[in-house]
Amino acid sequence: MSEKKNGQVNLIIDGVRVTVPEGTTIMHAAEVVGVKVPRLCYHPYLSTPGACRVCVVEVEGAPGLVASCAFPVAEGMNVRTTSPKLRQIRRNIVELQLDNHPEDCQTCERDGNCELQRLAYQLGVRERKFAGEKKNYKSDYKAPGVIRDPNKCILCGRCVRVCGEVQGIHTLTVAHRGFESVVVPTFERSLADSVCSNCGQCINVCPTAAFLENMNYDEVWQKLSDPHVTKVAQFAPSVRAAIGEAFGIPPGANMEGQTVAALRRLGFDYVFDTQFTADLTIMEEANELVNRIKAHGTSDLGPGKPLPMLTSCSSAWMKFVEQFYPEYIPNISSCKSPMSMQGALIKSYWAEKMGLGAQDIYSIAAMCCTAKKYEAAREELRDENGLPYVDAVITTRELAWMIKSMGLDFANLEPEEFDNPLGESTGAGAIFGATGGVMEAAVRTAHQMLTGEEMPDVNIEAVRGVTGAIKEASVEIAGITINVAVTHGMGNAIKLLEAVRRGEKNVHFIEIMGCPGGCIGGGGQPYAGQDAVPMDRELMAKRASALYGIDKAKEHRCSHQNEHIQKLYDDYLEKPGSHRAHKLLHTHYRQHFPHGVIPGRGIDGNQESCIRPSDPRFLELEAFINERKGRPHEDSELIPVLHKAQNLFGYIAEEAVEYIATKMQIPRSKIYGVATFYHYFSLSPRGQFRVSVCMGTACYVKGAGDLAEEFKRILGIDFGGITADSVFSLECARCIGACGQAPVLMVNDEVHTRVTVPQVQKIVDQYQEQIGKSGSRESETAAR
């Protein structure tokens, strides 16, 4: 073995010598020698928990097996990635996953696209030896965008990580522990009632079908056979850039014409382009920006001020602002998204033109997005009769399923053109789908609006690209310097907005897309193929290149040059920002609850005073938290604070979690995850008399198990349960250190020693009697 030098490490993998940089993991070093170690929970853009254990390998001299995803290489290391033992163990691990997973592959939405299924096949799991009890949770179908089926979850934790680490939303946590571990929103509420933005990145990264979009294609099929309505479809720029992947076409192909053709074959009477209203959005949005600048100059900056203006086309981002940054609501452009503008035009302008009533039209949108389903359901975006402008939203995936189920040969369909007048678009409309696209399109038109002249070079490279987290540029227009910033993914948005809030960034116009990569990386896009990872940046770049290719090939590359747009204004809308434009194309936003928590942001005094419930115990909790404010590693005080809360309330009440979350700026999900992990914390009220039977070894061998059974029989509750009258709750204690007098049990703080089974009834009676004596005494133990 040669000497280690220049931060390079030499090692042997499966007998092959390899030199890799120091700090490389075994998994990546193995890829250098052509071995892709089977893996499951690992994701290159997320933290590495080393949890699934599928990628274990043998390292000579190490006592057990090591997870190759997390284990760094070392000089002279000798690694084996395969052996009979390793294969057996990997197979057993995947079998253990399958044993706690529904056996419904054939009817599962991810059949054929499931990483677990693929892995089981790859590793040769051909029999099931360990089958037993399976998890059994309720599914959550309430949210319009994203639905959740914990029974399909294999606890890889990618969703929790993407939601926290990439999106900064922290909707999800792993709650409870051991076999009871489950990924849930706080207090196991529905996603619909949580801080979830519906972005759907959890669906993208999930290896199974634990997260899915709330499907609408059944309803669409139904309506397609309804002869009494006119069926109209629109689809987003990014749909054409990605739908081919679902049919095995290499990423980056523009399938616009085939998609139009397919929609007509499915039964849609008219197919319009969301890119048309992307152009319209630009007209309205650029006009809004120009007006804000003209009215206030470029110095009136900050939350609640006219600038920076924030884009409003990403519906996940909209919900995010409303919950996490309500103070920025005045900064959001009032423009609807292109989808909603198209929806409104179809049922007004076009309907009038066609002599149809709104009720005669069934209008759907095929989107790269799951949050668009949420957007379509928003009350603010309905017509004056309270009916939705867009009747149904389907994702790119759903559209692909519809095409497949009809048996269309998608790849070989003869490309067709959009219908008009709502089908024509410029290059500016196409690039909407990639991060930076809206900004680039808006600047092209703002330039014309401010100067009356076209931009000499419409390519603004600085805002393009899927890798840069925050892209910034300054544009000189008519002697005004306009600073723009672009970001994608809500986690990056937080970084950008925090910098703006702190006054570190002097920007006038910000484009934010909720998903990494922009719409092309939306939660409704085709699943990553066999060789790609979800959210893969190379894949995003290919999809983006399809859109920039469309832009480049267009004769008109600026929205204001779109002749149909000009005609629309002439015939119907008058001019950007007109009264009718406002009615149809603009909307408003309002604060949504629960209020989002951003770790470390701090809360303002205003908020602080309104979060404390009147219960005096909160005052005490507040004092306890305040005492810890400003200490190093303040967040680490969470467990002491939970102890305090339990002492005050008798259990960890939901209001207490809510209070601690706001007060300490710790995401609710994290608090819930922590509180449910530790058995000392009770999430539900406990009985007036808490019976805890010691199940320490000494007690157990002396019959504690029988005592527990007797209590369960007499009280009719299990461990962790509480009797209907709230008098008794039963817990299992782990060694209270009185082994000499085993078996022992405690009722509140009283210890009963050397207890026998017949005594159990007497003990219960004894406490029951106390209740009788004290009448309807309130539970004192709760406030212990």
């Binding site: 057996q88 163990i89 360990f130 939970l642 530790y678 060694c735 082994c739 000499g740 007098q741 017949p758």
Partner: protein
């Protein structure tokens, strides 16, 4: 005793958890009243002490300087102790523990040769001897002398060298050489380093740490301060179970007193060295005994472990180099500094130096804490120290290491207790739980018991432990309820290997030990359960049948006791049990005085 104490006599009442529960507190209170009544307040002091390990015979009190230990006291004995012993000079012979002195290096007391004679109490040297809530008493037994010696006479490297020379290995279960661990942390370049005392004792049946802290909290603080000095840390944390309120209270008192004496805090003893300690409460998660999980818990996270490397000595608490040792390890540190690493290394075996504390429990006469030199055989611990098996039954197995350990059958009783020997027979030293099992213990049931524990305590992060422990438990449940097949034993072995080799942390990696060791040593019991559907120990209720034979005189005692009323028969005639209703509680078996109820 206390330097300030000018009284002639001291009555030290153990108020450890066990003695307290058996009336120790009332005894303590009565003694005070009686002493006042006898006008002895000037000359006799009543003090409370921590556990001295005689839990099975509590409440215990010791009279100094007479050196008489009383056992099995009742609150009413206060009068006799005061009037008979203190006033008249006649000790209560019936309650005196047999007076004998032991060859204990650090001090010279305790009676009861059988229990203490073979012990060597180093880490527990002060437990039951001093008042743990009075720093003066600790100072009187050379307390904080080791810290002073380190700070004033030794360089940090020398302290670490002493640890290495002593051969001390971590007492928490892993047995990693303490000096080596300290050296890793000491050689890291970092602006901040931390010391952690792991007092999250969670093994069911283990209470060493609790007793050690309750009886002698200052030793832990002193050990941690020495460790901080050695590696360059200025902040320590004690992570202790919330279920140990007395220990927490005593730690807080000790910290306050140590700060007041400038033994903890800024510029300790004028040396320029700063070191402070904070107590953090656990919240009921056994896995937090694992060091990376413990760190996460202190950080306010779910207590899940993470893959190592990096080890905590390189990247620990908040990413800083951190030394984590358990209570017993820290308690050894002052001893080593004070009495020298060579002396320490002279105790024990070639690879396991010093002593080990065991919490002996189960079917044994003297339940309690014992501290013995490494290398003592299991037989000596069980028979000479702990008094042998209760009720004269024969020993079947010894379980060491709690849920991470294994069951050792009687034929290995002469195995010396050290890290390697125990590992060699399929168990581990662990943190010191030692449960004695007799012929009435079913080994399959014991394995199931431990699996239930690890299954409930699995953090759920890694697949093999989360899913595997559940499946192993299900198989064991099948076997103990008579639904098992012989093939299940092989399944257990296969699954056990997967969980053992592939789990992320020590909890999962050792979880199959109770199963694998019982299959290895008691395979015939598994076979009896699966092939003959029989539980040889008569424990697995679903495999038991109670029947009434001809010896029945028809007295009806069994029928009256039966909780489900499934025994019928006319008076003075043979009774019968309705097997379809029988819940196999065993009440009839216990009630019959004519051996007419049989269990099979």
């Amino acid at each position: 005793m206390s330097k300030k104490n000018h009284k002639h006599r001291v009555v030290a009442v153990c108020l450890g958890p066990s003695c307290r529960k058996k009336g120790g507190q009332a005894l303590f209170d009565n003694l005070k009243v009686e002493i006042q009544r006898a006008h002895l307040s000037e000359s006799v002091e009543v003090v409370e002490t921590g556990c001295r390990g005689l839990c099975a015979r509590g409440p215990v009190a010791h009279v100094y300087p007479d050196n008489i230990t009383y056992c099995r006291l009742t609150p009413n004995d206060a009068t006799r102790i005061v009037q008979g012993h203190l006033v008249s000079g006649h000790p209560m012979e019936d309650k005196v523990s047999h007076a004998d002195r032991i060859a204990n290096r650090s001090f010279r007391l305790f009676g009861d040769a059988r229990f203490f004679g073979k012990q060597l109490r180093l880490t527990l040297r002060n437990c039951g001897v001093i008042d743990p809530e009075n720093i003066d008493e600790y100072l009187a037994v050379r307390g904080y002398e080791a810290l002073a010696k380190s700070l004033t006479g030794m360089k940090p490297e020398e302290v670490i060298q002493a640890m290495r020379d002593s051969g001390l290995r971590g007492r928490g279960g892993g047995g990693f050489p303490t000096g080596v661990k300290w050296n890793f942390a000491a050689t890291q370049k970092a602006d901040t380093k931390y010391i952690i005392c792991n007092a999250d004792e969670g093994d069911p049946g283990a209470f060493m740490d609790r007793s050690a802290i309750e009886g002698d909290p200052h030793t832990i603080l002193e050990g941690m301060a020495i460790g901080g000095y050695a590696i360059g840390a200025h902040q320590g944390y004690i992570y202790i179970r919330a279920e140990y309120p007395l220990a927490v209270k005593r730690l807080e008192i000790a910290l306050e007193q140590a700060r007041a004496h400038n033994l903890i805090g800024k510029d300790i003893l004028g040396s320029g060295f700063d070191f402070d300690i904070e107590v953090r409460l656990g919240a009921g998660a056994f896995v937090c005994g694992e060091e990376t999980a413990l760190i996460h818990s202190i950080e306010g996270e779910r207590g899940t472990p993470r893959p190592r490397p990096p080890y905590p000595s390189v990247e620990g608490l908040w990413g800083k180099p951190t030394v984590i040792n358990n209570v017993e390890t820290w308690a050894n540190v002052p001893v080593i500094i004070l009495d020298g690493p060579e002396w320490f290394a002279s105790i024990g075996t070639a690879d396991s130096k010093g002593t080990k504390v065991f919490a002996v429990a189960g079917k044994v006469r003297n339940t309690g804490l014992v501290e013995v030199p490494m290398g003592m055989t299991l037989r000596e611990i069980v028979y000479d120290v702990a008094g042998g098996v209760e009720g004269g039954r024969s020993l079947k197995a010894i379980q060491t290491g709690g849920p991470s350990g294994g069951c050792i059958p009687a034929q290995y009783l002469d195995t010396p207790v050290d890290y390697e020997s125990l590992k060699g027979i399929g168990s581990i030293m662990g943190s010191g739980g030692l449960i004695v099992m007799d012929e009435t213990t079913c080994m399959v049931d014991v394995a199931k018991y431990f699996l239930e524990f690890t299954m409930n305590e699995s953090c759920g992060k890694c697949t093999p432990c989360r899913e595997g422990t559940k499946r192993m438990y299900e198989i064991l449940e099948r076997i103990t309820s008579g639904r098992g097949e012989e093939h299940d034993i092989e399944l257990l072995e296969e699954l056990g290997e997967t969980v053992k080799f592939a789990s992320l942390c020590g909890l999962g990696q050792t979880a199959p030990n109770p199963i694998l060791s019982t299959i290895r040593h008691f395979r015939d019991e598994y076979v009896a359960h699966t092939r003959q559907k029989r539980c040889p120990a008569g424990v697995c209720t679903q495999l038991i049948t109670y029947e009434i034979n001809d010896a029945c005189i028809g007295c009806g005692a069994c029928a009256r006791k039966c909780p489900v009323k499934c025994i019928s028969g006319e008076t003075r005639k043979l009774h019968t049990i309705d097997q379809s209703k029988c819940i196999k509680c065993g009440e009839c078996f216990a009630a019959c005085r004519f051996d007419a109820v049989t269990r099979s």
